[in-house]
Amino acid sequence: MKKITNLKEFACTPDRFLGGHRLCPGCAHSMIVREVVNATDDDLVVSTATGCLEVCSAIYPYTSWDVSWIHIGFENAAAAISGAEAMHKALKRKGKLYTDRPVKFVAFGGDGGTYDIGFQALSGATERGHDFLYVCLDNEGYMNTGGQRSSSTPIGAHTTTSPRGRVSYGEKQKKKDITMIMAAHGSPYVATACPSYWKDLAVKAQKALETEGPTFINALSPCTTEWKFKPEETVRIGELAVESCAFPLYEIENGTKLRITYRPKKKIPVKEYLGAQGRFSHLFKKGNEWILDLWQKQVDEYWDYLQRREECGV
């Protein structure tokens, strides 16, 4: 197993996701992908759901991948990787593998491809116990098609299908809690992560890959284009999300043992996170104070809940 101790050493890893892709400048997707694929020295077979990562990393006649990669559709990244993993098992049993090197299976999907249209395939593949890691690149909306809402879009966010308007404050629903849903599958390992905390993410990816069975990481992917912040701020926005506990970092083993993996030294008000993004700017207008209050309340309650769970060892 590869040792991930410090960045100086980690940075010696030859990249397996290369430049020349067409993701937006400052895109967090590729930060996440690199932190995941570089977390292991094992060979990889990767499937990717339709979305920003897919359309930007395999635009014919170019691929950005130094690992085997497949994209089929929007809703079936998990099903595709389960097929590839099954083939690996079958060929191994029959002594027909192409290489002796260890191979790991990873699926990437955006929140659209994970929370929404791809959820059935993900739930099925997880329940069947395939040995793979599913990483959700959670940018809280359908950003590849110009920023429509998904079930991951948080309350109050402006998207093109939950727009702010004369009588609307944007998205009305709470963000779906996908990580807990995946934990409820009894998956041996699920976690949240944020690329701004590179080691937390890389170690989680490694843990997930080393765990036999279906594992899941929901990685927050701050989106410069649709969250409306400057491209150079991506890492900082991720930090604000975590330091405010709007996106807490934790892991759950076997659906029953929760551990908070990062505890902000001083929890910052969620306003600072929301205020840094254009998609929430309308919340700071007169009359919308209650949404900011609601946000803070929800964040506090959830953070409390996580801490209580951790204390009780469940």
Partner: protein, 137 residues
């Protein structure tokens, strides 16, 4: 680097099943012409990051967060026998000028700074803020 135009082929010569091999020679890991590594995105840039090796502490923050995998590092071995990555420069073929590397660079005076695309490197380095400038503000 073959441009997309040079890559255009006819229906009878096109890649079977649109399958793209990453490597031309997997043994030596020579990347194939189908690898985006052979595709330039330099023209996306308005500003470019310039690297000042004199200030760099080789923390590799820029490496881990560059979304375009274009922080060039060299593996070196420290006196204590540990291997570590030394930041050596920027791959300007793939840098999109997002500025993340500058943002995350932790040195008191940044070791990376954005300059207008056409500023020559020497000129950029000559303009680098000095310690004294820092104190003033």
């Amino acid at each position: 680097m073959a441009t997309p135009k040079e890559m255009l082929t006819t229906w009878d010569k096109i890649q079977f099943g649109a399958v793209l091999p990453s490597f031309e020679d997997p043994k030596t890991k020579k990347r194939s012409k189908f690898h985006s590594y052979n595709y330039k995105v330099a023209d996306w840039r308005v500003e470019k990051p310039v690297f000042n090796p004199d200030l760099c502490i080789n923390c590799d923050f820029c490496w881990v967060w560059c979304p375009d995998s274009c922080i060039l590092v060299e593996e070196v071995t420290t006196k204590r026998g540990k291997k570590q990555a030394k930041m050596v420069g920027i791959d300007y073929d793939h840098c999109k000028g997002c500025g993340v590397c500058v943002d995350v660079c932790p040195t008191p005076i940044k070791s990376l700074l954005m300059f207008p695309e056409h500023t020559p490197i020497e000129e950029a380095l000559a303009q680098w803020p000095k310690k004294e400038d820092k104190k003033k503000d």
